[in-house]
């Protein structure tokens, strides 16, 4: 191992981590201040440290229910996205069939329109189906952009596995489900981890559709956070606290999938 190169890499990494954390640190800093303090002075630490902002969030039902609602539809969406994407990605990766290249690219085209364009049609669609203000509505709507992404990522990782492994398993007498679950999936762990995290993330932060399709029961946290403008102006402090709290579920998710992402491909003894 060349030590010189090693140092350079660590330095780059540390620099980036500092860059990544500074705005977040500033946000956390703000979350422990009052609005007056934020707007009037500059300080690296809160001069009048306060838990009030977090208290507001935890006690005001519209705030904490927002988190729960978001978690619900994001979880539903992630599970559905990955579940339907896995067989599809396998098909794209292993087989050639009528229209395969076109369908594959078509999937991605669904991410190419600004979501604003879908607002009205979705609104009409879900109203007609009586599914307004439900978690499932948002979960289904988000499939539009998450499923193509999941298929894309998974297909990429699946194509990296040599087909000989499939064939060896069949020769050894594995049925397709058993092969897929016990042999194949572990080999594409990194892809599944990344795909799952991205589905979670994109669904979690999506604002337009989530806000349009919900009103009270399923109102997500992202929507609640946009109404922080009151008569006295923007409620920076509470917004900062809410922002800090929104990071937590995602951080937990990536913590859970970290082994999937980091382990990657380990060619076992065949």
């Amino acid at each position: 191992m060349n030590d010189g190169k090693f140092q350079k890499r660590s330095v780059l990494l540390l620099l980036y981590i500092a860059f990544a954390l500074l705005p977040i640190y500033w946000m956390v800093n703000m979350s422990f201040k009052t609005n007056e303090e934020i707007l009037s002075s500059f300080s690296l630490f809160p001069q009048h440290f306060t838990w009030a902002n977090y208290k507001t969030i935890f006690t005001d039902e519209s705030w904490y229910s927002g988190y729960i609602n978001s978690l619900i539809y994001v979880a539903i969406n992630t599970v559905i996205s990955i579940t339907v994407a896995l067989p599809a990605a396998y098909a794209f990766s292993r087989y050639s069939f009528l229209g395969d290249k076109h369908v594959f690219f078509w999937l991605l085209t669904n991410r190419m329109t600004p979501p604003a364009v879908f607002l009205l049609p979705f609104f009409q669609l879900y109203s007609t189906m009586g599914m307004m203000d439900t978690h499932i509505a948002v979960a289904l709507a988000h499939l539009l952009f998450n499923v193509p992404l999941a298929v894309w990522i998974l297909e990429g990782f699946m194509s990296g596995i040599p087909r000989e492994i499939d064939e060896t398993a069949y020769i050894d007498g594995y049925t397709f489900p058993r092969f897929f679950l016990t042999v194949f999936l572990p080999l594409i762990k990194a892809g599944v981890g990344v795909a799952a995290f991205f589905c979670f993330m994109f669904s979690w932060v999506e604002l337009l559709l989530a806000r349009t399709l919900t009103s009270v029961n399923a109102k997500p946290i992202v929507a609640t956070m946009t109404r922080t403008v009151s008569a006295s102006g923007m409620d920076w402090a509470v917004l900062a606290a809410a922002g800090t709290l929104t990071i937590v579920p995602g951080a937990i998710v990536i913590w859970f999938v970290r082994h999937y992402i980091a382990k990657g491909f380990a060619m076992g003894r065949v």
């Binding site: 934020i38 329109t113 049609p121 193509p148 956070m225």
Partner: protein
Amino acid sequence: MNKPVNQKAWFLILPVFICVAFSAIVPLMTVVNYSVQDIISPERRVFVGTEWFASVMRDEDLHAALWNQLRFSLAVLAVEIPLGIGLALAMPAQGWKSSATLVIIALSLLIPWNVVGTIWQIFGRADIGLMGATLEKLGIEYSYTGNATQAWLTVLLMDVWHWTPLVALLCYAGLRSIPDAYYQAARIDGASKLAVFRYIQLPKMRGVLMIAVLLRFMDSFMIYTEPFVLTGGGPGNATTFLSQYLTQKAVGQFDLGPAAAFSLIYFLIILLFCFVLYNWMQRVGTADKEGVAE
């Protein structure tokens, strides 16, 4: 690798197809419908064919927004892709350091986009923001509300901060998928670190890089919330990108017809770029796979 033909594979695709078609085709039809009509009122609609398309294309504001957007997306790609790759290479591969780094890197992706804009709003202010204050202490005159170039660069910096981790995570996962044997063989062959990057790591990351490039291009081309919250599109229209232009047209002037027409054009522009990028990257990949003689 030649894939066997198997039409039954359509059964595996069906769930995906249904989910996405359900979400996509109906709305798309609606948009196409609107784009060729003049909706004077809910009861009175007149078919106008391609009139909206023509007028939208002639709009000067559109040209400015489009040009601005192109420069922005290209800048985003130019910075985020190499930076993401470099980051992925620098991130530890295992142990507690790898877990910690993964979590820290991912944080910026998890913040709702309007909050991102809000944070940077404060962050960049000379009076109460860390970055603004630091720049001022360094003697640099910085104002993202007053100076057009600085506003544009701030939006770029914000985007880099926000989205580079996406590229890094994809590349990192891709790197972890390279079997150890390749690195071992490279050691045995006496390859330098640069050679390892050029001949092993970069080619094996091609798949994830393509996803990263297309995703970042698309998403940056449609960027709306963050710049809108940070600068509102200003000063002037320095940071007015295409999405905001579209929203202004649709919401501000409540003109569904032209807005729908523009949505389609918007979609087609992105489609065209992505199609070209996609095919180009595929061709590079396929040439390898099919053993094309030089």
